[in-house]
Symmetry: D2
Subunit: 371 residues, 4 copies
């Protein structure tokens, strides 16, 4: 069996989530390749060493370019801050390596477009970390839509809200920085845009409203220094899908009470289906002829669930969605077709977000193809 | 104590709901007037007589103008089909009588404007049946907003969806008729618009999308004859409130699983508050500093609830909201200031709906004052 | 049509609830009799007069015996404190009048047995106010059980908890008085016992545990004087039904967070069905072959609901359950068979409660027929 | 740092769950030891080899005694069928090794007692796999109880129900075998008993009812051959805790709609707290003075959660509870005191289950100390 060497850049929370996923995918799935945790890169080489031991990587680099050039590395996983996605991914693509990059793809639409073109030209496999879509309940939702169980899809109403910036004393961070693709739409809303496209298809045009409520924040926790904030705290948008469905999108990082409220309701002529990431093992479903909404709980009839547990009700966690994402990546690398989000699909998400920003700025409907 | 004579036009479901409310308000509240069920009008005089006996009205008329002219009638309650609201209300106002009219106020914005002007010129008390707003939980929500418990209101997301037209075989009815103010926006959405205005204030501008999914329906149940449908099956809109809040509105009568899903979430800088008419005795609330949403159940600390029950958890029903509405009407007639929806406020709702239709037709943001 | 005269004793909250119900039943249902609100009795004759006017009663009495003897009274409704149920009901039965008595039937099992015997000997119609059973959702539950939709019933788990005595500073009241049938089992649990019998049938034997947590309370609100408390604050019991089902019952008036948590889950070989009075317009149901629990919302397919509203989702309130109870009473008085709780059935509830107390006291299983 | 060698017996679902946990614990926690996956045993040596590669074990044994004797093994993890727990654990204890055994501890109370005595005499660390207790939400519940936030605990109502045997055509398995500690009480109820003891303390006496509904089942899936069933399909019990709380326990594997309904409500004088394993990242809580139940969502304020995610709302899954259990085991092996379930505590659970069976058989209250 072919050996596949993984190189991971970054040792933060997301780096560890990748490491867990690459370890677990070997235990949970029968893979068509032999997976090897080849190399880990971090500028702090001591930290890199410590993490490599804990996470099972064979060697370390303190320079990410070295990791990319490392001949034992076949796929480069990028978990660094957003503004580094572009140079790292471009270098990896240039080296003919597959790339697995955290979202967002880049900090500008131009970067994203360049990454997409480069990957396409090089013919390498790419994936972007929209891990929520690998949830077996989302895969089930997609299947139900594809099978026509919902009938014609007529409405998508989505919201991704959290409250981690609700306190005006929450300090500035790179998430507030427009050059690092900041704002609620970029940070949260992009997950929902990707989800909407995954489930309902291309969006044709949008109209939107974005707003900054807290126009300055402490420069750091507890600091008296204030930094101005220009990125959006909340966004509301209207969506028109290519196949005719209409919908709304809302995203806020100021909404008290929500921690991970990536949620949607999809209305079809034959059924309504609803989901909330805060209860990620459930769907709510009401089919024509039924009295009311039913709670559908994840169980082993779904392959992505069965990989982890033979019994319903055991529940998957966030980190297991990452393992499922990594599994899909590996299957794609082994040439077994799939539905993952590649650079082209991630660019579509960025373009859609850009269309929303443009529509808000110009206060008009914008065709996504304008952007 | 002054005697107040009630004249009721109409003996359908809504007529009976009024009759129940006028009966119950006397038992439930200490009123500043002596309420007398003076007269009931229906073109079918036999039916009028039967209902008058069952509902406790003193006399009957088979002609609504006679009821308006009846000297024992001080307030005219109108529960007839929408297109009759205008002539009846105008006649009552002309006779100097108070008017209590079911929603929508009229079948065109022009009619509504004329009714508003006439009532204002005549100086009569008017009320329109947006009964959901008299729910003690909604009154509580309004108080919390007024008291600043939610902080600055930054977002209103509202939806009123039902499924009673979801089946394409559901036949045409006057609700599908554009001349009778048909469509999901008029039938359902207007309740939500009134609610949004009651809670968050004036809407300044809107952008919207309306859609007819089933463009023809059986002329009547089971009929092979088809009638074309042009009114909206669903609507999605963006709202900008005068005081700065932003939001979305969705309304559909095709959404499987919902029966009376008049719902909203209001996000403030200090708390989030949510409501769903399908569980009308509850609010969901999360204040700054709290771990998550709390279920607040209606109880006797709320005057509107205490009128019906001394113990929490007993729950009010739809008909009791009507009794609360009638109580507010009577208090207004007795000169005791209140927050009911009069013709001026109902005209604002109609104008807002018209602005939404215009925005959808012209695919642009529309200032409400344009209409 | 025969005229039926109603005499009501008591003008408190429950008196008013009866008055509302007798008024509304005429508006809501087509009755086989002409209902007349004949007389209202209260020792305070001024209060009686005021209420009679507000509630529509023809005359007043300041002596309940006079009301019973009043020839215009055919059915005597008793809403006085528990210890007066016995003398009033016995007098009414002796006068050959029908009796509609609030629960509990009496303050001792001996009284209840005497009332049952007297009513049976006199052949009068009797009803006891277990109004929760008239909820259309409960009627639906009973139908589903009778039709075999749940299969063989194997388990009933019921709980009726509230928190109105949770604060140790909540003062003594007659509800704490053993001579007035006090305690959580009598006050709350008896509703659940009646519900269990209505849905699952006779209980054959019980084992139980009762407990007084707060053994003294202020004599009145804010008082420094303490009164000893001996009635149960909470009870837990095992139930064996005659037809083989087993179950548990819990009741507490100390349970923080609950306001009217009269709830149960019934497990059958083909489905599980759950209910909670705090959401009285809903059932939760999962049938064999279905993925999970479904929310069934009350709608006009249920006659008891259709009487009040032609549209699903409008929701009934507590007072409307009372109207449904009164409707069943009137149908029974008109000789049209029904499922209401008469003195015999109410005595069974009291006997079952007595068996639970005996089982707790003697710490052993008790056959209900022992009592 | 000391090296700790792990030997794992068994390669089924639970074996893999252990393997995942031992791998992940190294990535997720800073450990006070160097953890080494030393050896994996399975009678099928080919399977052992394949799994060892996928799961990262250094060597394999086809004989479990060899694994126990392997000098690189310090702790023996047992994931074999229940009847093998006793011989394996006894051998490991005899070899002076620490033991980490899946639940139930043994298939008879006698075995469990012998295991407990042997472990105590040998002075080895032992742990039993009641992994649900390592959920950060359960740890939080325990802390709240210990801190007095709930006040005096007065009631525990627990239920663990599933539906995997609800279909009478579900075949016989070892779970139905009385010699392998079968039945709903053993399989499901024991988790709840352990949870009740963990949260509320020792149980002093019990009364109970057990029932077999389907007294025969197919010998295997689809087989016409029937095997008689004598173990309990459902159990209901009353519990009296040593510190005064009272409660109920229900367990069923026939209850339609439930997949992993390990649930409880704990009522204290100051708060009520509720949990359901089907939503394992949540608690419901109502404190004195609050309006209603609040949903508390797991977040990084809880150390067990923070180990996996820095952000609230990300949610843990079943397998991560296992990682937390393994972490606690390692801390105990490193001499850092903790709250895990050792053989003594697991024997208490078995004794309590035996007391429940005795109480059901003899239809009387049983003191746990009688058994």
């Amino acid at each position: 069996m072919r050996e596949l060497g993984v190189g991971l850049i970054g040792t933060g929370f997301m780096g560890r989530a990748h490491a867990l996923a690459f370890n677990n995918v070997r235990a949970v799935f029968e893979l068509p390749v032999t997976l090897k945790l080849a190399a880990l890169a971090d500028a702090d080489v001591e930290r890199a060493r410590r993490c490599a031991t804990a996470w099972g990587f064979a060697r370390v680099h303190n320079d990410w370019q070295q990791l990319i050039d490392d001949p034992t590395v076949d796929v480069v996983a990028i978990t660094t801050p957003n503004h580094l996605h572009y140079p790292m991914a471009m270098a990896a693509v240039a080296a003919g390596k597959a790339v697995y990059c955290e979202k967002p793809l880049a900090v500008s639409l131009e970067q994203a477009a360049a990454m997409r073109r480069a990957a396409s030209a090089a013919g390498v496999v790419t994936r972007v970390g929209y891990n929520y879509q690998h949830n077996p309940m989302i895969v089930l939702a997609r299947q139900m839509i594809d099978n026509g169980e919902l009938g014609q899809i007529i409405s998508f109403q989505g919201e991704f809200s959290e409250d981690f910036m609700a306190d005006p004393a929450s300090p500035w961070s790179w998430r507030c920085d427009v050059e690092h693709a900041g704002g609620a739409l970029a940070d949260l809303g992009s997950h929902l845009l990707s989800m909407a496209r995954f489930l309902v298809g291309d969006v044709e045009s949008v109209c939107a409203d974005t707003q900054t409520i807290h126009t300055q924040r402490p420069a750091s926790a507890g600091s008296a220094e204030r930094r101005p904030i220009v990125v959006d705290d909340q966004v509301h948008a209207l969506l028109r899908f290519a196949h005719g469905a209409r919908g709304t999108l809302s995203s806020s990082w100021l909404k008290r009470g929500y921690k991970n409220h990536l949620s949607f309701e999809i209305s079809g002529t034959r059924a309504t289906l609803a989901f909330d990431q805060e209860r990620l093992n459930e769907l709510r479903l009401c089919r024509a002829g039924e009295d009311g909404f039913q709670r559908v709980l994840a169980g082993p009839a779904l392959p992505g669930y069965a990989a982890f547990s033979p019994a319903a009700g055991h529940q998957l966690g966030y980190n297991e969605l990452k393992t499922l994402e990594v599994h899909e990546l590996i299957m794609a690398l082994a040439g077994q077709g799939s539905t993952g989000i590649d650079f082209a699909a991630a660019w579509e998400v960025e373009r859609l977000a850009a269309a929303i920003r443009l529509a808000a700025r110009q206060e008009r409907w914008v065709r996504v193809s304008e952007v």
